[in-house]
Chain length 108, copies 2
DNA sequence: AGAGTTGCTACATTTTATGTAGCAATCCTC
DNA sequence: GAGGATTGCTACATAAAATGTAGCAACTCT
């Protein structure tokens, strides 16, 4: 498992521009969901797994490792949570929630 | 290929809440990138493919179909582009770009 | 008519994710 | 301080998804 950081090229991209790294990371299955679930509170591994509809522990651990390397998520005695960067990113996810509510309305 | 819409349950989620559908859609490989590339201009299939680092046409088509069903992307004689909902979502992606720039700085 | 471009589809191969079992370490209760 | 529960994982076989390449039918432009 190699983990990309901004400055290094992302999966698909040749540039290494931070946004490309970010789109690449967030575009991996469960990553958005993990951040969403950690947005409000710190969670232990098994509780986070449960909230992510029972995602396999293999994958959850893989993603958490990556998000910790990227300093978006951290871990302590109380479990996993967002770093200060992560919190800011979480706020952007809340905006996506607002967008999604409007979207639902417009789809009807 | 089944395509979820808000109101119906998402891949992992049992709820069908719009945000869950959205996180599910955006969390699929290449979706964020496709939206990012369409943010500034309409693109034809092959041009979009090229900008997405040569993503396979199979997958690109699959994603575009889904995004059209969800009324985030549309298509006309000039190729593919964002709907009005899509444009609003694109603006959120621009905010992610800002976040990513700050993130890069803080990682050094 | 011939060459180029369009938006795809088919399909074999490779990569990723899932699901289940289980293990070693810590914690809590008695 | 023994027994049970909970912790954070790892292993591994199976299933699902993505990749890469080839190519086709419809259109356009000489």
């Amino acid at each position: 498992m190699t983990i990309k950081t901004p400055g290094q090229p992302a999966r698909g991209s040749s540039s290494g521009r931070p946004i490309m790294v970010l789109l690449d990371v967030l575009g991996q299955r469960w990553v958005l969901r993990i951040l969403w679930e950690l947005r409000a509170e710190r969670l232990r591994f098994r509780e986070l797994q449960a909230r992510c509809d029972g995602v396999s522990p293999t994958l959850l651990n893989q993603r958490l490792k990556q998000l910790r390397t990227l300093e978006i998520v951290d871990a302590d005695d109380d479990g996993y949570g967002l770093t200060s960067s992560g919190v800011a990113l979480g706020k952007e996810l809340s905006r996506l929630n607002d967008w999604a509510e409007r979207w639902k309305t417009s789809l009807q």
